[in-house]
């Protein structure tokens, strides 16, 4: 799968360099969501993520058109690197204008409850997952994801083995995925 991606990327880069605008649209379609997610996961701001996405694509396309992309097959890495530069420059700019954000704290420490991924489908799906959980398993999810306690401490508190907790977590996530996909399809 990764090999196919690289090959496609090489083709895309070559087409963009030849000035084919449809290739630029294809590039945007392919990486837009990933780029937005990467920026959002770093900056925790929808507006900033939008800005990073737009600025990154502009720079990438200009670089490809100008023949500055050394290895067309490593287009994905080039996009990621460009996005990181854009993010870094944005943070630096904000610091200059005294708009210091909590970016560093968010990178290293626990993050606040995330509103970006909460939609009605997520809420309904998680409710269905919770309904199937046993009391101890619910307590585990709360202690792990909300209270952010270490697994070994939770295992001690709930008198459960850590292997059991890992199983609960993976089953809950699997169930959530199934329910969520079902909900967004209907």
């Amino acid at each position: 799968m990764e090999q196919r991606t690289l090959t496609q990327d090489g083709t895309l880069a070559n087409e963009i360099q030849r000035g084919e605008s449809s290739a630029e649209a294809a590039l945007y379609e392919k990486y837009s969501a990933r780029l937005y997610y990467l920026a959002l996961s770093e900056l925790r701001s929808r507006e900033d993520a939008e800005d990073v996405r737009a600025e990154t694509f502009m720079r990438v396309i200009q670089s490809i058109r100008g023949g500055q992309l050394r290895s067309p097959d490593s287009l994905a890495s080039f996009i990621v690197g460009t996005a990181r530069n854009v993010i870094r420059e944005g943070v630096r700019q904000r610091r200059k204008t005294n708009q210091i954000t909590q970016l560093d704290a968010e990178r290293t420490g626990a993050r606040e409850p995330d509103p970006f991924f909460l939609d009605p489908h997520v809420k309904r799906a998680i409710e269905q997952v919770i309904n199937r959980l046993k009391p101890r398993e619910r307590a585990f999810l709360r202690m792990y994801y909300y209270e952010e306690l270490p697994q070994e401490e939770i295992a001690r508190c709930l008198d459960l083995k850590q292997e059991r907790l890992r199983l609960v977590k993976s089953r809950a996530l699997k169930h959530f995925r199934e329910v969520y996909l079902r909900l967004i399809k209907t």
Binding site: M1, Y37, V80, F117, R138, L141, R156, D159, A172
Partner: protein, 295 residues
């Protein structure tokens, strides 16, 4: 570049979502999910799942009260300084519990016994004085409604002597400290211990001399801890307000003591109402009939 095996074995996706990866791992995983549809889908699902779990926890949908939960080690929490703070608080709580226990189990019974002895002594003294035709200034209208017991006069006098003199300060007398060990009434102030009379025909009686300047009502509504204070209202038989006292608090014997001006009262029947007062409400907790005979 990261492999799927590494990502699975090291819980990379979840750690990425929870912000637990170092810079190097984070960058490596970002490059990976840029070319891997499966991991990109998984990381987004995990974001949604964790966001949903946090949201559910905030809304207390993940509460499970039936789960026996051992106390987590405080040292693993980010606020390590809380540990000594909690320890200090716990120690203070233990000391407080011990003091309260001592008060409830030792002091209060002793005070109650002392009060009962005092009541008994007063009743016997008044009975003896009436029997001898000596209803005079020494007893000054102290009434009783309980049967006397046989005791030598000297002992009765001693019991009366033990009663601590009431402060002359009226506000202080109406707000005795809870730990006051001498809540008794001075012998030279007329006193009536009110018995609940709701629905009863018999009224509490108080003989009040014309020269008396005040008298004291002693009421035992019981340990009504739900109230911050009490209000006492005295009405005539036809419902006219004669006098009221605000801000009464229970003394160590769980009794209220209200000192009232004698000149406001003539001979006749009265209704004494006691209301419990807290921030939320005022509730009638007792009603007492009182008959005053002035002479």
């Amino acid at each position: 570049m990261m492999t799927h095996r590494e990502i699975e074995n090291q819980d990379i996706i979840e750690r990425y979502v929870r912000g637990k990866l170092g810079a190097e791992e984070r960058h490596a995983f970002q490059e990976h999910f840029f070319t891997c549809d499966e991991c990109f889908a998984n990381v987004q699902t995990t974001e949604r799942f964790i966001a949903g779990a946090k949201h559910a926890a905030e809304r207390e949908q993940l509460e499970a009260e039936s789960v026996p939960r051992r106390t987590p080690a405080v040292s693993s929490l980010p606020f390590r300084w809380l540990k000594p703070a909690f320890a200090l608080t716990s120690a203070a709580s233990l000391v407080l519990a011990a003091v309260v226990g001592w008060l409830l189990l030792v002091q209060v019974p002793q005070l109650r016994q002392e009060l009962a002895r005092e009541h008994q002594a007063r009743e016997q003294l008044a009975q003896a004085q009436r029997g001898a035709g000596q209803v005079n200034a020494q007893s000054n209208g102290v009434q009783q409604s309980r049967p006397p017991t046989e005791q030598p006069k000297q002992e009765l006098a001693n019991n009366a002597q033990r009663a601590a003199p009431e402060s002359q300060n009226q506000s202080a007398s109406q707000r005795p400290a809870r730990a006051d060990k001498s809540p008794m009434i001075a012998t030279n102030v007329p006193l009536v211990i009110l018995q609940a009379t709701r629905g009863a025909q018999e009224a509490n009686e108080l003989m009040l001399r014309a020269s008396a300047r005040s008298f004291v009502l002693w009421i035992e509504p019981g340990p009504r801890t739900e109230f911050d204070s009490f209000r006492l209202v005295v009405l005539t038989a036809n419902g006219r307000l004669v006098h009221s006292v605000e801000g009464l608090v229970l003394n160590a014997s769980n009794a209220l003591r209200a000192k009232l001006p004698a000149q406001a009262f003539t001979s006749g029947g009265y209704l004494v109402q006691v209301y419990g007062v807290n921030k939320a409400q005022t509730v009638l907790v007792g009603e007492y009939k009182l008959r005053i005979e002035r002479h």
